[in-house]
């Protein structure tokens, strides 16, 4: 363990820790835009600048490893002045349309502007103007809102192993783009959307379906493959409007295209809404009472005539443990046969 001092407080940390990690573990706040603990340190946004005793210039906390006896100051007038200027510069080329922006209320840049009380901006000049190329059905890309933190580029390469996008060009014209500035054509996992600190990347399915403050969050598990990814369903007016995932779970907050964007079947107009009984080859709507009684009467008659082994149940690998338990209990104890299986047991 290494001993360091942050803001006068002595703390012990593992070697090979960055200052930012050490601070996070000890509940000391350092603002950052480009850092995510699941990605390699990047040092792009410069917001995490801190002062180290004996060093002439400020250093970025996310890329500087701790050393024995290091004395760090995470906030003072000079640091805050620099941070404020960085945010001001970012805002100087940002469409300040928070009132209609989908990300409002959940936007890191907005939070920082609020924190530094940035009403007017000292910097005026040319603005980036980009035509949207947005025919893909999953992700809306508004590059005028991009602050070039590089998270989307890094997660796509480092975590997803796809590399569908990169930063092209330099300086003022630098921009995140798929090859040859074409439309996005990738696995559409949406990892980039989940990390984007501004409204530059948004899931299209969620657009216009409610602000974060109106959303109720429900923790549950993905209904698709067997990975068991944790989903946070964002619910507004009884509809799942978007899906996110916590980083402290088995899937580390990452999802695939189905988990992240495959939720609109829930309120599909095709959902079955009433019991149906087939009469003369045609389904006729029935009450639950009728349907239950019909099934029970038929099952009892078959059981009496042909024995319980003439009845079988197929359960579902999509239903819960409790439902599966009840299902086989019903078949075994209620009907009296072990004819119960499910299709995916192999």
């Amino acid at each position: 363990m290494i001993k360091i001092i942050i803001n006068g407080k002595q703390i012990k940390v593992q070697p090979d820790t960055t200052i930012l990690d050490a601070a996070r573990r000890n509940d000391i706040y350092i603002p950052t835009i480009c850092d995510d603990p699941r990605l390699e340190p990047y040092g792009g946004c410069r917001l995490c600048l801190v002062q180290i005793k004996g060093m002439p210039r400020l250093v970025s906390a996310c890329t500087t490893p701790v050393t024995e006896g290091m004395e760090v100051e995470t906030t003072n007038d000079q640091i805050e002045r620099q941070r404020r200027t960085i945010v001001e510069l970012l805002l100087s080329d940002h469409p300040n349309d928070c009132m209609v922006c989908e990300k409002a209320g959940d936007c890191t840049l907005q939070e920082l502007a609020y924190f530094y009380d940035l009403r007017a901006n000292r910097f005026y000049g040319e603005r980036r103007q980009y035509t949207k190329k947005d025919l893909n059905p999953f992700i809306q890309r508004d590059m005028e809102k991009c602050i070039l933190c590089g998270k989307c580029v890094r997660v796509c390469e480092e975590v997803q192993g796809v590399g569908a996008i990169d930063i092209s060009s330099r300086g003022f014209t630098a921009k995140v783009t798929p090859p040859f500035e074409k439309d996005l054509d990738c696995e559409f996992c949406g990892q980039c959307v989940s990390l984007c600190p501004t409204g530059a990347l948004m899931g299209k399915e969620a657009l216009g379906r409610g602000r974060q403050k109106d959303v109720r969050k429900v923790e549950t598990i993905c209904p698709y493959c067997g990975c068991g990814c944790n989903l946070t369903l964002h619910v507004n007016r009884d509809e799942v409007v978007s899906v996110s995932s916590r980083p402290d779970t088995v899937n580390e907050g990452w999802l695939c295209v189905k988990g992240r964007f495959g939720y609109n079947f829930i309120k599909s107009p095709d959902r079955l809404k009433t019991p149906l009984i087939k009469k003369d080859g045609v389904f006729v709507e029935a009450s639950w009472d009728e349907a239950f009684q019909y099934v029970a009467d038929r099952l009892i008659a078959i059981k009496e005539k042909n024995g319980p082994d003439a009845i079988a149940g197929l359960s579902s690998a999509r239903c819960t443990n409790e439902e599966n338990y009840l299902f086989q209990k019903f078949i075994r104890a209620g009907i009296g046969t072990n004819n119960v299986d499910h299709c995916a047991r192999y």
């Binding site: 695939c256 964007f261 095709d270 197929l314 819960t320 443990n321 046969t337 299709c343 047991r345």
Partner: protein, 539 residues
């Protein structure tokens, strides 16, 4: 799972997803992980970045191959040949884990070793199409790792000799001592959110919940006591048996909850005929599936977003499912439907909540006895978790196997039942796509997904396509001994010459019109979805 249960005494992924990061070598066989278990694949990519090696055996150039150190493109159905040849190399070069074999296993005898003698890399090259040097390199890479994990899915199991394939995988891990430790193991990745749970809960014809055999008198007594009912000790029918019995008229009624066997089972024509022969077919689902359309009664059920309970993922982790939205119309929670039916069948099951059911599961199966909804709240627990203090079990067998010792099984190579011939010159293999899920009931109703993955296709090697003068998008008629479908051509270097692939999600061009419902694996009764023979003509 039947295979693994025989070898170890329990059938599940032995290790955890998070442990993949800590492994030295990953051997992925018969699994298109990047498309079908995307999040597991991310761990594999992470492990690669940390320095682990990746070996892949797959007849198709699956997306994960991009990250592989070694890729073996074996012919579909030749897994036993390939695995036995790897073991042959390990045995011949004296690289077996003698201590582990002596203390933890049984069956590593002369017969087992003698059987391996014939599986030289040269012989395997002829059958599998994998160069012998590659087999030797892969065997060495796997055995030389301190910790090596094997990961497989339906590419191993969905064969007429699927259980043999599983035995071979297990043999390889046993021989090299890669069980009972972090980062190793034999890891079947489960394909549906709660397959593990459905099996754990006893929705299999031979076991009560928790793999407790229905034909064992002590188990029968235990459950008769718990459920206050007389139970049958006769092992029930498997799903394929049910369909066969229905067709013959021996089975009269079926109650199907949340499954669509018409599209997901092999030989669609046969499945439809069997279901139509029933006196009573009850289907409980959220959509009018192809199976529900054949039913006498359809019961509108709940989606995952409308109910509470638990799912058990591929690594045995039981996690909480929570209701988020209201049920549409008169649709009902599945558990309530079952309870209402049961009540009318004079066997009331009056549970007040899913939690009450969960508590009973804990009484039925010691491996989940230590779990409760409140303990599952944060991030779930992995069974076995026998007591309230138990932290759950990330990897199995660190203290030995449930059946005592891990068992070696002598496995001979059996060619797949269908072999290519003049009439049916192509090997067809089937599977899933990244964008779709199973029979498409859910994913095909999600607009953006439908926009990028709208229809079925046949993946065919450029050489074969050239020979048949097919271009991308040319409609072709694909015919097997069971039937024909028409799909569009997709020219791709993923399959090698002579092998084609069709996804099974699309009912209107159903891959399972072509697959065979006979020639099931004799133990697990799994159909051979991965090997059929077909011919291809311009439509």
């Amino acid at each position: 799972m039947a295979g693994l249960a025989t070898v170890f005494g329990s059938g599940a992924m032995t290790n955890s997803i998070a442990e993949i990061e800590k492994t030295d070598v990953m051997f992925v066989i018969g699994s298109n992980t990047k498309e079908n278990h995307p999040i597991v694949a991310l761990r594999m990519i992470k492990a690669k970045k940390k320095g682990a090696k990746l070996i892949i055996a797959d007849p198709r150039r699956v997306p994960l191959v991009r990250f592989a150190d070694i890729w073996m493109q074996h012919r579909p159905g030749t897994d036993v040949m390939l695995l036995n040849a790897m073991m042959h190399v390990i045995m011949k070069e004296g690289l077996v884990d003698k201590d582990f074999i002596a203390s933890m296993t049984e069956g590593y005898d002369e017969a087992f070793k003698k059987n391996l003698e014939d599986f030289t890399p040269e012989a395997a090259e002829k059958v599998t199409g994998v160069p012998k040097d590659t087999i030797i390199k892969a065997a060495r890479m796997y055995v030389e790792a301190d910790k090596a994990g094997i990961y497989y899915t339906m590419g191993i199991t969905q064969h007429s000799h699927g259980t043999d394939n599983v035995f071979s995988v297990a043999n390889l891990a046993l021989m090299t001592g890669n069980l009972g430790k972090e980062g190793g193991g034999v890891n079947p990745l489960r394909g549906q959110n709660n397959v593990q749970g459905a099996t754990d809960m006893g929705c299999i014809p031979n076991n009560y919940p928790g793999y407790q055999g229905v034909s064992l008198p002590a188990m029968k007594e235990k459950f008769e006591e718990l459920w206050k009912a007389k139970l049958s000790d006769k092992v029930g029918m498997t799903a394929p048996d049910m369909l066969a019995a229905a067709e013959k008229g021996a089975l009269k009624a079926m109650y199907i909850m949340g499954e669509n066997p018409v599209v997901s089972d092999p030989d669609m024509t046969h499945t439809i005929k069997a279901l139509k022969a029933l006196d009573l077919l009850v289907v409980q689902d959220i959509f009018m599936t192809e199976t529900a359309a054949l039913a006498h009664v359809v019961l509108p059920a709940s989606s995952f977003a409308e109910k509470s309970g638990t799912f058990t993922n591929t690594e045995r982790r039981v996690q909480r499912v929570r209701a988020a939205t209201n049920l549409p119309g008169q649709a009902m929670e599945d558990s309530r439907i079952i309870m209402e039916l049961s009540k009318r069948m004079n066997y009331p099951m009056p549970y007040q909540s899913s939690e009450e059911v969960f508590q009973e599961i804990g009484r039925a199966w010691p491996a989940m006895a230590g779990m409760s909804y409140s303990r599952l709240d944060a991030s779930g627990l992995q069974w076995p978790c026998p007591t309230r203090e138990h932290p759950g079990t990330p990897h199995l067998f660190s203290g030995g196997f449930p059946r005592g010792k891990g068992r070696f099984t002598t496995v001979k190579y059996l060619p797949s039942l269908e072999q290519v011939d003049k009439e049916f010159p192509f090997l067809l293999t089937t599977g899933r796509l990244l964008f779709q899920y199973h029979t498409g009931g859910m994913t095909r109703r999600v607009k953006p997904i439908d926009a990028v993955s709208h229809e079925s296709y046949i993946e065919i090697n450029p050489e074969d396509a050239g020979m048949l003068s097919l271009k991308d998008g040319t409609p072709v008629k694909v015919t097997s001994r069971r039937g024909s479908i028409t799909v569009k051509t997709k020219i791709s270097k993923r399959p090698k010459k002579g092998v084609v692939f069709i996804p099974f999600h699309f009912h209107e061009a159903a891959a399972n019109m072509l697959t065979s419902g006979t020639g099931l694996d004799p133990v697990a009764k799994i159909p051979s979805f991965k090997v059929s023979t077909v011919r291809i003509e311009k439509a």
